[in-house]
């Protein structure tokens, strides 16, 4: 089932938290709304659910205009960050609640509840109360309650953020598998870019209530349209170094880097992914820096180097060793270099 957001905006009094957001979510797609807190991502989700009124614009679900519809008539199910399990109802009653409200007969309700429960592997817990469950189990119950209705759209509001790191990784994989199997259109809100990259078919990155970029994870990683997107996505985030661009030459300190274009921007930024850089000897490479810290991560060593006021993170082999404050060079391929206008935040293309 498709979801179409047509130029929706939201204001709370004088404060505008969402600016003309337009999106089309395809049938069966897993779309992630990514953004920091206050970016308007949760508001957008709640507007799709019908929990917030739409100030301007139109929302369509399955080809039907639902802008003014009550939440219950939109055929959407939502998983909350807190799971929102009813504390005074058992797991079975929690899962069966949407069916009970729709006056489904008890027998049919039982079968359906049992079905979903086994899908999310909580068959044995049906008679327990939410307070007797672990975080992961609660998460599954919340998921089951959303699934049991077979809604047109799943809405998920940071469903994994209350789990510990290990469980989160596990549930992430399960969630992805489940969505693939059910094929239900899913809109997922998170502030965690790893979740967004791993789960999404497409990621919509929001900032300040505005859509920054809407693309597949690979594209958004490899081809960010703005400095903001580049720095938001990736772990560690993209390195940036400030300087100026003169006729296609980026000047930083005493180093001059040929970028291959012919643009001139007085306040420019270069961006480099950590894995695209190499540490080389002092005097070699394209940028001269001083080594600030080494951190052994496991399969690699993360080297932090300082260039003027900027810090660059570089993935070096795990046996890399260099003295602190020693001079090093940084080398990279010119194709892996990104250029941004620091005043507008826009990407400078070299074409």
């Amino acid at each position: 089932m498709t979801v179409i957001l047509d130029n929706i905006s939201k204001s709370f009094g004088q404060v505008r938290v969402l600016h003309n957001l337009s999106l089309e979510v395809e049938d069966g797609e897993f779309l992630v709304l990514l953004g920091a807190s206050g970016s308007g991502k949760s508001t957008a989700l709640r507007m799709i659910a019908g929990l917030e009124a739409v100030s301007e614009g139109r929302i369509e679900i399955s080809g039907r205009d639902v802008t003014e519809d009550l939440p219950k008539n939109r055929d959407v199910a939502m998983v909350f960050q807190s799971y929102a399990l009813y504390p005074h109802k058992t797991v079975a009653e929690n899962i069966g609640y949407p069916l009970k409200i729709r006056r489904i007969s008890r027998a049919e309700r039982d079968t359906q509840v049992r079905d979903v429960a086994s899908q999310v592997q909580i068959d044995g817990l049906l008679e327990r109360y939410p307070r007797e469950l672990s975080g992961g189990q609660r998460q599954r119950v919340a998921l089951a309650r959303a699934m049991v209705r077979r809604p047109a759209v799943f809405l998920m509001d940071e469903p994994l953020s209350n789990l510990d790191a290990k469980l989160r990784g596990h549930m992430r994989a399960e969630l992805k598998h489940m969505q693939h199997e059910l094929g239900i259109t899913t809109i997922y809100v998170t502030h965690d870019q790893v979740e967004a990259m791993t789960l999404a078919h497409r990621v919509a990155l929001l900032e300040g209530g505005k859509l920054q970029q809407l693309a597949e994870p690979k594209t958004i990683y490899e081809n960010p349209e703005s400095l903001f997107v580049a720095q938001f996505i990736g772990s560690p985030p993209m390195n940036v170094a400030h300087g100026r661009l003169e006729n296609g030459t980026f000047i930083i300190g005493n180093d001059r880097i040929e970028t291959g274009g012919n643009a001139t921007v007085s306040n420019a930024v270069i961006g480099l992914r950590a894995e695209d850089c190499r540490v080389v000897g002092s005097g070699e490479g394209q940028i001269q820096a001083s080594l600030f810290a080494n951190e052994l991560i496991g399969d690699h060593t993360l080297v932090t180097a300082r260039v003027g006021a900027d810090s660059l993170a570089i993935k070096a082999p795990k046996d890399f060793d260099g003295g602190y404050d020693s001079d090093i060079g940084i080398d990279f391929d010119r194709e892996k270099l990104y250029l941004f206008d620091n005043d507008t935040g826009e990407r400078i293309r070299r074409h």
Partner: protein, 379 residues
């Protein structure tokens, strides 16, 4: 997914039924709030207005019906300056030296307060509000100077204020002390807290009778004590102050538990960390209470006292049962005064007294709230 279609919302229900249910749902905000608001309007606000009209009228019952004549403030005049003055304010028959002294002291006190307020801060609303408080305090001060301190009886206003100010003060001190004792690490706290709570639940009428029995000098349980003290023939109900104190004791017996339970809960909700930190620093029990616990519970204490004062102004059952307002009018509260006026079918006077009570209550409570509760909470 065809087999799932029947579980979809909207498909299983007829369109028209959804229309009504949905209408109900969309308007639930009104359905939730309106009943309460309308009921309060009908049973409080309109009666309040009707009462105001009655207080400004003379109402005569005449052969089944009644006629209403608008007389402006005559009813209030009668209470404050006219033939009912002795009943409401008290008997004014010359001031004694003590009376003059008290009147002068009150006046000077208020004057000092006015000057210090104007010097420290000044807002129009704050000034007008305080003007009412000052006027009221001054009036009460002079009234007491001319009656109580000049050896003349005061009226129902004085009696009500006695019940409220002296009564609530005593109740607060005893209730707080008991709560403090029960918050100490002693055995049997559970027992005490249940026992001390009980009087609050007992019907005031029952309390009235029980204390009337208690105070009986011939048949009551303490009659041997009276006898021993040579007071066997002393009729407490015939002595104004004895009667007032007996009523106040009954009222306190009933209401101390209210202060007690709330203050105990407040004392127990003070975080243990603070107290333990002070204990480690070597503070004694009393110092801990004064410096740590008390500042934490002040907001609750002020609020609970305010609630108690609000309820205290409504006192009627005890004086009615224990003394029927006697001897004379010595124990008559303002509510009882209005009730008696209603009994004698003088609806105008009854409403006027009731309105005076409302005025006194509101002025006292709002002054208390603004000058004590808000300031304490902010501090």
């Amino acid at each position: 997914m065809t087999n799932n279609m029947k579980t979809r919302p909207g498909h299983s229900r007829a369109a028209h039924s959804r229309g009504f249910v949905e209408w109900l749902d969309r308007n639930s905000r009104h359905i939730f709030l309106w009943p309460a608001v309308i009921m309060i309007l009908i049973f409080s606000i309109f009666p309040l207005i009707a009462s105001a009209i009655m207080a400004l009228s003379r109402i005569r019952f005449r052969g089944g019906g009644y006629n209403v004549r608008f007389v402006w403030f005559q009813n209030f005049e009668k209470q404050l300056f006219g033939s009912e003055q002795f009943h409401f304010l008290g008997t004014f028959a010359g001031m004694s030296i003590l009376g003059w002294l008290v009147a002068a002291l009150t006046t000077v006190g208020i004057a000092v307060w006015i000057v210090s307020y104007i010097r420290s801060s000044f807002t129009v609303i704050g000034f007008v509000g305080r003007l009412i408080t000052w006027g009221f305090t001054l009036g009460v001060g002079w009234m007491l100077a001319a009656t109580l301190f000049s050896g003349h009886p005061f009226g129902t206003l004085g009696t009500t204020l006695f019940y409220v100010i002296v009564g609530c003060g005593i109740q607060f001190i005893i209730g707080l002390s008991l709560a403090f004792l029960c918050s100490l690490p002693i055995r049997g706290r559970g027992f005490f807290r249940v026992v001390f709570f009980v009087p609050l639940m007992i019907t005031p009428i029952g309390v009235g009778y029980a204390f009337r029995m208690m105070a009986d000098t011939t048949k009551g349980p303490f009659s041997p004590v009276w006898q021993w003290a040579g007071l066997k023939d002393f009729a407490w109900a015939a002595d104004p102050w004895a009667a007032r104190f007996f009523i106040m004791i009954g009222d306190s017996w009933q209401w101390i538990p209210f202060i007690f339970v709330v203050m105990l809960a407040a004392l127990e909700s003070v975080p243990r960390d603070y107290v333990e930190a002070a204990q480690v620093d070597g503070a004694t029990g009393w110092e801990i209470f004064r410096d740590i616990t008390w500042p934490q519970v002040v907001p609750v204490a002020a609020t609970v006292l305010l609630i108690r004062v609000i309820e205290g102004f409504k006192i009627v059952d005890l004086p009615n049962i224990m003394t029927a307002g006697g001897p004379g009018i010595a124990t008559e509260s303002m509510t009882l005064h209005a009730l008696f006026a209603w009994r004698s079918l003088d609806l105008g006077q009854s409403s006027a007294v009731a309105y005076l009570l409302l005025f006194v209550t509101v002025v006292t409570c709002v002054s208390f709230f603004n000058l004590v509760v808000l300031r304490r909470v902010r501090a």
